[in-house]
Amino acid sequence: MILWKLAFRNLRRNRRRTLLTLAAMVASSSLLILSLGVFSGMFVDMLASVTEQYSGHMVVAGKGYLDRREMHATMDQAQAVTEQASRLETFRGASPRLRSFGLLSLGDRTQPAEVLGIDPTREIQVTQLHRKLVDGRYLDPDEDHGIVLGVGLARKLRAEIGSELVFVTQAADGSIGNDLMTVRGLFDTGSVANDNGLALVPLHWLQETIALPDQLHEVAITLKDPLQAKPTAAVLAGRLDDRLEVRDWGQMLPEMAEVIASYGASTLILSMILYAAAGLGIVNTLYMSVMERTQEFGVLLAMGLHPAQVRRLVLLESTVLGVLAMVLGATLGFFLTLWMKTVGIDLSGSISSITYAGGTILPRLHAEFEFRNFWLPSLLLLVTAVLAGWLPARRAARLQPVEALRED
């Protein structure tokens, strides 16, 4: 108890020094929290560029389809899959899809495209493409010949709303499927692959055009928590018949899953680097404060304070400093992250979208909250403070009372 009182008052004694040390610690942890928040924001964008704008968090398909996207590897258990999926705890939506690769032409321009047959009312529960429209509208539920495509693709075709496109592909029966369709809307996701090569068409229209009536290639599913995709996929797989397989986004994008998984290690390394720099400052301050109190420690020892108690006193001071910095740093970090989340910084003037690990980083700085962005830096800061207190504390505990008293 008395040690606590002494520790607090000693910190207050040289207020300027304590505040400067605290400032260095708070600056390092809050800015670290902010940058981790921005990294999280990038990861969310990256993951979303693939999952929420294309594949969903997991995909159910006939065995073999997902590896080669073979046109004939179809499934027809849409009903059963949707029903089982909707019983999952974090289920958000499921969308049955048919996929075809072909050429889109307008006038004398032709571009290859991936054409995805969807049910608009179901698809909007899975992907966010309907929120990324920059022109026109999304597909209507009873639409027949409408198409919604990426802005890059439209630019290359010189297509605009109302343009009549020709779609040519190989149908399942070996014939050449082709039909006319009207451009209804254009989406701009920032993801290079989607904007330059993806088009959405009504499911039943595509089923007819490529001669696969009532057939599907996959059911894409989104969850409320993407990080739960792996265990959830395993659960769902157990409930479906064994002609089907389930993949989560981590299996579909192993490189991105690894980047996100290794993020923990990078966080740790970055924190340690910053705190090593901050830690040297703390060691210095505490040493100074121990050195200039040498005589005082001599008195304390002469009056019967155990060396272990002296050590505890100095460690207590560094711990109090660490806890204070931790709380202030986390608070400031929270507000900085909040600011970056709500306001953010638009970089589209100076850079474009960047592909990374199979996804796309959008040209903006924007933060996301993640619990570990807070607890990891905070905990490490406290550890740094306690470690930095260790050497000065040991020195204080090893003082010889007579020599310490003689010190002036």
Partner: protein
């Protein structure tokens, strides 16, 4: 000179504090220099492999093809490859034709990018073709041989030696199809590319699209020594003035890669700034402490007739000396670490086992640093500047000491 000697002695009065401060300065300099050198080294690796399979260090395009990828912007290169290769800095000029199209096997079809190349030249510079054995290369500019992305081949359910039909748009607007035979398989590690790449002979591709002899891109590959100063103007001067052909640096031609590097380096700079901020606060703290504990002494100095300006100068010189020692230590450590990272590299496979694509280029998993002496020196001087700045407030405090009060100070 007296001032310098006095400052130097003062610095070592509290040896532990000075050493710790020197440690903090040196450590931060070590971090900043090493990370910077590692970053520019790895960017160089990315750019080297990126430009060789992409635009070249300098790309020559008609109109805004680099951005719009507008198929009609093809041009006849004429004598350009020969004249540009004549420049001293240029290692190679590689022609390419890019045609979006559809590839069909007997059962599947996929959208592709048909790339017409000069197999012989391409092989010398494109890192992805270097791995392909001789007997798997396209035989000549006119052959029906094709190289194909490994994922694409899988999806088309084909094997080397089998045939596929490629349909592209003829310049007159009609679709034109032709049969090719898979000769070799390409794996770049970039998913998008491995899903869509088909390479064939340049002449065969040009005739298929009705634009024989034309190209979309001349990729100019430079000698290593010239990479930092691309001879953009010299190349531009060789281009014909009549049509809209222009030379672009790789940064303009491959914005994905350039921006990836920009973004990565920006986040590094942020971390550098945080490190410098922390060190600055620590410096102010140290210098302030050293002044506060000498208040009595300064009081006596003033009482003996020392001018406050001289005290201020003394403290500034102490700070600069501290900075100089810190800088020396930091530069030594930074150079050592950089040397290690050049000799042995940093193996990313400790963290990530997958091939990693960034900005359209696959990382070499072993990052290697690169010397950047001017930058390292600049950072050292910057830190000395910070030391000087950090000494301003403590110096002002010392100069304002009132001798009578200071001498009573305990």
């Amino acid at each position: 000179m007296d001032l310098l000697r006095l400052a130097w002695r003062n610095l070592w009065r509290n040896r532990r504090r000075t050493l710790l401060t020197v440690g903090a300065i040196g450590f931060s300099l070590l971090l900043i220099q090493t990370f910077h050198n590692l970053a520019i080294g790895s960017y160089r690796q990315m750019v080297n492999s990126g430009v060789r399979s992409g635009s070249g260090h300098i790309g020559i395009y008609a109109g805004d093809y680099a951005l719009s990828r507008e198929e009609t912007l093809s041009y006849l290169p004429g004598e350009l490859p020969r004249t540009i290769t004549g420049l001293a800095d240029v290692q190679q000029v590689v022609p390419r034709l890019y045609l979006p199209g559809l590839a069909q096997s007997s059962r599947e079809s996929r959208g592709i990018l048909l790339t017409g190349i000069n197999p012989e030249l391409e092989r010398q510079i494109n890192p992805f073709l270097k791995r392909i054995p001789d007997d798997r290369m396209i035989r000549g500019l006119d052959s029906r041989d094709a190289l194909i992305g490994d994922r694409l081949m899988d999806e088309l359910k084909l094997k080397p030696g089998q045939k596929l039909v490629i349909t592209v748009q003829h310049r007159d607007g009609e679709l034109a199809a032709e049969l090719f035979r898979i000769r070799g398989v390409v794996r770049t590690g970039v998913k998008e590319v491995d899903h869509s790449l088909v390479m064939v002979g340049l002449n065969r591709a040009g005739r298929l699209a009705g634009i024989p002899g034309q190209v979309h891109e001349l990729a100019v590959i430079l000698h290593d020594s010239a990479v930092d100063r691309p001879p953009l103007k010299e190349v531009q001067a060789l281009l014909p003035t009549r049509n809209d052909v222009r030379a672009l640096s790789w940064e303009e031609a491959m914005p994905n890669l350039a921006d990836a590097i920009k973004l990565d380096y920006a986040s590094q700079k942020f971390i550098f700034a945080v490190i410098l901020l922390i060190v600055s606060i620590g410096l102010i703290n140290t210098l302030l402490m050293s002044v506060m504990e000498r208040i009595r002494e300064f009081g006596i100095l003033i009482a003996l007739g020392t001018r406050p300006a001289r005290l201020r100068a003394l403290i500034a010189v102490e700070a600069l000396l501290l900075g100089a020692v810190g800088m020396t230590v930091g530069c030594a450590l930074g150079s050592g670490a950089t040397w290690l990272l050049i000799e042995y590299g940093l193996d990313l496979r400790w963290f990530i086992t997958q091939e990693l694509e960034f900005g359209g280029v696959v990382f070499d998993p072993i990052l290697r640093a690169r010397w950047d002496w001017p930058w390292m020196a600049g950072m050292g001087l910057l830190l000395m500047g910070i030391c000087l700045l950090a000494s301003l407030y403590p110096a002002r405090k010392a100069a304002r000491i009132e001798p009578a009060r200071a001498m009573r100070h305990h």
